[in-house]
Symmetry: C2
Subunit: 205 residues, 2 copies
């Protein structure tokens, strides 16, 4: 898990669909797409997730599904992203098998250690700068948190939360392998251009 | 799937937990328990579902999980209940394996035929009398719907929606193998007694 990671949350992008956001982000160079939808039923999300998985394959990118392990498997996604109150990693691994990815949001050193021990494939760390997109993302933790977790774990780290183009260099230098954005892409006037600028910034650090 | 089927929805029973409702319903003679919780995250529901599964095993009853196939597998439940906008039966079967049960809510003859063809284990039919418990249950369909579906399918039929003790005989005579209740148990002053009276009424028809 590296490069630009775009979370598609269509509640934050009125009039833009998950598939539309995915296509634009991939054309701009995103390497990971996360489907995040707490509103729709799984049966309504399945065709959306399948269309996203196909686009990701065509662009040599990964599709991650937020929370719903069953949906991830049914759609042929590359993995899931878990919060601390979602299914535990152990149970998720039994459902996903050994080859799909499990990412997990971590907030402290104990959670980092637990994620490593349970076999997580990457860590989500945030909200780095505070987030306007995720109401449940908690307070801003700053780049210090990235540096702390980088020192205690070899897992890839995905930084999320209020990361704008200007802030990519300091987030990368603090230890993030990947930068995840929602609003910076889904609310941009031109989503493809916004993704391209972020992906370029990622590569140049 | 036969006998009394109790859906635990703790938003409808202030102060009563899923586990508490389950224990009382089983002691009253319920043969199927469905965990229905659209509010909590799957990780918070997992220990609840496991406790419910253990109680069900001890009472020779079945635990069905609403919607979340991943949670059902992780908790060792006996099956899932799907709505028409949840994951399709085919994808659910791949996740659940051949031995666990899949129930599905059906509203018309096409959905009955599709459920049979896809390998559903039982049909949920309702709301028979209109429901005060489920906001999304649609209009009352009456016992006529039970009789119609009974004529075109050999699958067990679970009737749901506003079924009180007095109405159990006519629901059974119309073709229901099982009667599902929420409010009639979870809002009863004595949940065990309410379940016992319903279970007795089921058996006597």
């Amino acid at each position: 898990v590296r490069g630009l990671y775009v979370v598609t949350d269509d509640t934050l992008a009125p009039g833009r669909s998950h598939v539309e956001i995915t296509r634009a982000a991939l054309e701009g160079g995103a390497k990971v797409i996360q489907l995040r939808d707490k509103r729709r039923d799984a049966g309504d999300l399945l065709p959306i997730a399948r269309a996203m998985a196909e686009l990701c394959r065509a662009h040599d990118a990964l599709l991650i599904v937020n929370d719903r392990v069953d949906l991830a498997v049914a759609a042929g996604a590359d993995g899931v992203h878990l919060g601390q109150t979602d299914l535990p990693i152990h149970e998720t691994r039994l459902l996903l098998g050994p080859n799909r990815l499990i990412g997990i949001s971590v907030e402290n050193a104990e959670q980092v250690a637990a994620a490593e021990a349970a076999g997580a494939d990457y860590l989500g760390v945030g909200a780095i700068y505070g987030s306007v997109s995720k109401n449940d993302a908690g307070d801003a933790v700053g780049c210090e948190q990235l540096t702390r977790f980088r020192a205690i774990s070899d897992l890839p780290i995905v930084a999320i939360g209020g990361i704008s183009l200007e802030r990519v260099p300091e987030v990368r230098r603090a230890g993030a392998d990947s930068v995840a954005v929602i609003g910076a892409v889904v609310n941009a006037p031109d989503m493809t251009e916004a993704a391209r600028a972020l992906a370029d910034a990622m590569r140049s650090v």
